[in-house]
Amino acid sequence: MTQEDIGGQRLGIVVSGSLNKGIEVKLDSSASVEDMAVGRYVTIEGNKRRFFGMITDISLGVIDQKLTLTPPDVSDPFMAEVLAGTSTYGTLHVLPTLTIGGNAASLLEGPQPVKTVPSHFSTVNLASQRDVELVFGSEDERKFYIGTPLDMETKICLDLPELVKRSNGIFGKSGTGKTFLTRLLLIGMLQKGAAVNLVFDMHSEYGWESRSEEGRKVKALKQLFPSKVAVFTLDEEGSRRRQVSTDFVVRIGYDEIEPEDMVLLRQTLNLTEPAIEAVYQLSRRFGKNWLQSSLDRKDSEETKDLLKEMSIHESTYQNLQRGLATIRRLPFLVPHTPDNPVKRILEYLDQGINVVLEFGRYTDITAYILVANLLTRRIHAQYRERMEKAIGEDIALPHPLVITIEEAHRFLNPELASQTIFGTIAREMRKYNVTLLVIDQRPSGIDSEVMSQIGTKITCLLDNDRDIDSVLAGVSGKSELKSVLSRLESRQQALIFGHAVPMPVVVRTREYGSPESYKDFLPGGETEIRKQAEKDIEELWE
């Protein structure tokens, strides 16, 4: 069967259903249950309007229960052929999501959310390429092609300016292609100029090339868009070894670490509540230099007096010292820095250049949380200031900023979500033009309040029940989507739902990693960049 044949093929008729629970479709005898697949699209031709829906379950039925008790001899092909579709039949469970009215006015309006169900015995067809295009639109200056629906060649496109208005999440267990999807999305945002990105790149995968699971070299942003991406690094040596052309080496001074940064590290550094209290006290006493002063302090009578004065218990102090020693061992932390990384990042972002911060060998979660939180807090404060100024003085708003964080459940778990800047950004959403792109493999670890604020969720295969529940919380048709989600293939397939798509959609993600695929990403208009990039590609691949 060719691709065209599949689209528009008649499947059966509507026999029962409800808006809440979805619609039952009896398959025609010509359509085999074995050819169906959950996640596929169908159109239902009602009397007055067309409905657009997704197959969420497939089941078998018999016309007479006796058949199940005394099964016929199906080794006889004639018997099997006669009974298929008559006495025994397949049913589809379809979740209707959109409707397209029959009159001209509603055609202009485009697909609307469904508010009723089709009448009895309406014909159900597999959605054709045109239907899918009608719903998801085609590639243009706002829409980025992310993948194709199952068994179809149509492009599913995401409206990126719309997408970055909210925080978004990419979920999936490890090895399901989260990194590839993230790269794709980042490229999309870059290509469409929807937002500038700040990527906290824990495993150094987004800035410069890395290896895929098959061992293939995969290029990343800086190689594809050299003029639009800057790579910052914490691990200069590592980056140099990997021959990454870095733009800036990030060093953080002790004086830049504030007590709020320590709060987040409480769990990873194993600090007690009183120890955190002590940090605030020390900071009040020593100001910006609290960390330096605490580290320098020797076990002396003077220290004891000081502790007594501030009524900090000896053991609390010990606990704090142990935690601080861990931080001190991070080589990118220095007593004093000549340059300010926040300022540099903002400079780049202001020019519309995306910043990828590589962590190199500091993949330790302490370093990640500390740096990501520290930088984001200051950048967010700056953005907030600018936004308020822009509103007050009626000047152009700052360019939307998307901050990408990995291992999000470490920042956004219920205990920390209220304290970290990431929790605030997720909740405040677009007010200050800063949103998050959250990447995580344990969505159940993320605070439900934050989860509910995530606009568009892109999820690869998840098989833990709690993770699935937390991703699907609050979505209509949850149980139906659940069965779709748990049956995704382990690679290159993702379920997208939420703000930026008109209805939940399962996509086979666009190819990424081959020389041809890189060419597709390059903007057609800017020929010089394109030529340069094409040259780069050839050099790298030949």
Partner: protein, 194 residues
């Protein structure tokens, strides 16, 4: 068109025809028609009998001294005149003004109407729709309905280039009609499979 007999008894639901030749009744389940202008009636042969002309006089065994069965008829040629073959037909549809209806006609057949065996083209035309199966299922006849339906479908399938497709389509129709009686369906399907 092969003439097979003449109507000698008729009612709304069926008619009985006598064969011109002894033992020359059409096969069980075959489609026959009789004309009562402007209406043509279609029927399906469901029973055939050969009896003595006079109801009270039963034939007696005669072959004791004969070498073969043929010899009996040869030595007593009057036998062919004393016996008769008849067949009963269930009315399943009619044609009026070129249009084919697969349900009972307004009037029964005429006595002495000639009965013809339908040629393949006409059988094909009639069996385009399988609505008549409902009549076969719901009529009480001296022969079991399963047997009649199976015989009829077997007969009809022979006029198709691909009898299998026709039988599958008919089987599906039966599966819907007999949805509450799987055993009967199974019995019929067992009799029509090739």
């Amino acid at each position: 068109m092969e003439r097979v007999g003449e109507v000698i008894e008729a009612s709304t639901t069926d008619f009985v025809a006598q064969c011109y030749e002894l033992y020359q009744s059409p096969p069980l389940g075959s489609l026959v028609k009789t004309t009562d202008l402007p209406v043509e009636l279609y029927g399906i042969v469901y029973n055939a009998t050969t009896t003595s002309l006079e109801p009270g006089r039963r034939p007696i065994a005669r072959g004791k001294d004969e070498a073969s069965e043929e010899e009996i008829y040869k030595s007593s040629p009057q036998l062919l005149q004393l016996l008769r073959s008849e067949f009963s037909t269930l009315v399943v549809g009619y044609r009026e003004n070129e249009k084919l209806y697969r349900y009972l006609p307004p009037k029964p057949a005429r006595i002495h109407g000639f009965v013809h065996l339908c040629p393949p083209g006409e059988v094909k035309e009639f069996s385009q729709s399988l609505d008549f199966l409902n009549i076969l299922i719901n009529t009480h006849l001296p022969v079991p309905a399963d047997e009649l339906i199976a015989a009829c479908l077997r007969q009809m399938s022979q006029v198709y280039e691909d009898p299998h497709d026709f039988l599958v389509a008919a089987g599906k129709e039966l599966a819907i009609l007999l949805s509450s009686d799987f055993n009967q369906l199974k019995a019929i399907l067992g009799r029509i499979k090739q």
